[in-house]
Symmetry: C2
């Protein structure tokens, strides 16, 4: 998606290692106009798939997921990263390793919100090692729901998650796929 690639080139900053800082428009400050254009693109890609639930994970996926859900006219569920007092009853759970934070955490979704009749589109801001996406897909599977696919804003295609999960048959559509990056330089796959 040209608009997102242009924005990454203009405002993204590559930090040491493999960190792409896009917190001026994607995951700290959020440009909801850009999200609106991304949502339309996700709709173009998945409109034939009868999506009736969008699943994401807190926190930075929520904004994109909500604005995408407006276009699909369906609710969003966000997986929570720890069990809180406010979640009563039974939950689906999976484990996710965060490479950014260096920890493993549980993600949970209340069973009442996901079941065999659901056709689920996963939305997230980043795909790198695929840990979050694997955990979310596991929860969709546990629910007996149909995973239509995943819509990702930025895929670090030089990390293994995307290839691995596509190899397992998951449909993944990333709006910007980064082939390589270094300070001052980002190259995309088209």
């Amino acid at each position: 998606m040209q608009l997102l690639e242009d924005r990454i080139l203009r405002d993204g900053k590559v930090k040491d290692g493999s960190v792409l800082k896009v917190d001026s428009f994607l995951n700290h400050q959020m440009d909801v106009k850009l999200f609106g254009e991304m949502a339309k693109e996700f709709y173009n890609l998945f409109q034939a798939d009868k999506v009736n639930k969008i699943l994401t994970i807190e926190a930075s996926g929520i904004g994109i997921a909500c604005i995408t859900a407006q276009v699909f006219d369906c609710p969003v569920i966000f997986a929570k990263k720890t069990k809180t007092k406010n979640i009563a009853g039974e939950v689906y759970t999976s484990k996710v390793e965060s490479f950014t934070h260096g920890v493993v955490y549980d993600i949970i979704v209340a069973k009442e919100f996901l079941g065999p009749d659901d056709r689920v589109l996963i939305i997230d801001d980043f795909l790198a090692n695929g840990a979050a996406l694997t955990g979310l897909a596991d929860i969709v599977c546990q629910a007996g729901a149909t995973l239509v696919g995943a819509g990702i804003a930025i895929e670090k295609a030089f990390q293994p998650g995307g290839d691995l999960l596509r190899g397992q048959g998951m449909r993944i559509e990333s709006l910007a796929r980064i082939k390589s990056m270094s300070p001052g330089k980002v190259e995309f796959i088209h």
Copy 2:
């Protein structure tokens, strides 16, 4: 706001103590159509205030904030609850005590996204003891920005946060103000 009150009466569940479970439409599964109506109501209330930034806190405020930001045509910033590797540089920070989770955490906002020229509307899903709102207002103050007010989905008016902060001069507009609640019964203030 009648629509939100009706939804609370229909789908909200009062749990032991002072927990109102609204996770079927507000803070786990999210009804983005309802959020759209709430956003219009926030706009009616604050449209004269030249809002140019919406500030919220992860995670459950983000969805409402993003959809509200579409109506105000401005970006959203969400305060993060811990310092992550992806936030480089200087940040505003404040402490928030979570009564739900029984912990005190730091919230941070990168300094580059908030400054003296900003007119900030805080958006959040709940107001009870006012801890999150106090922390967010502190960050707006540290930035030298103008706090226009706070738009809250559900205020537990039987808890002290709303009265306390209004007493300090903060403009708070809550779309549903709960006077009292017990299992099977919720009463609102109009």
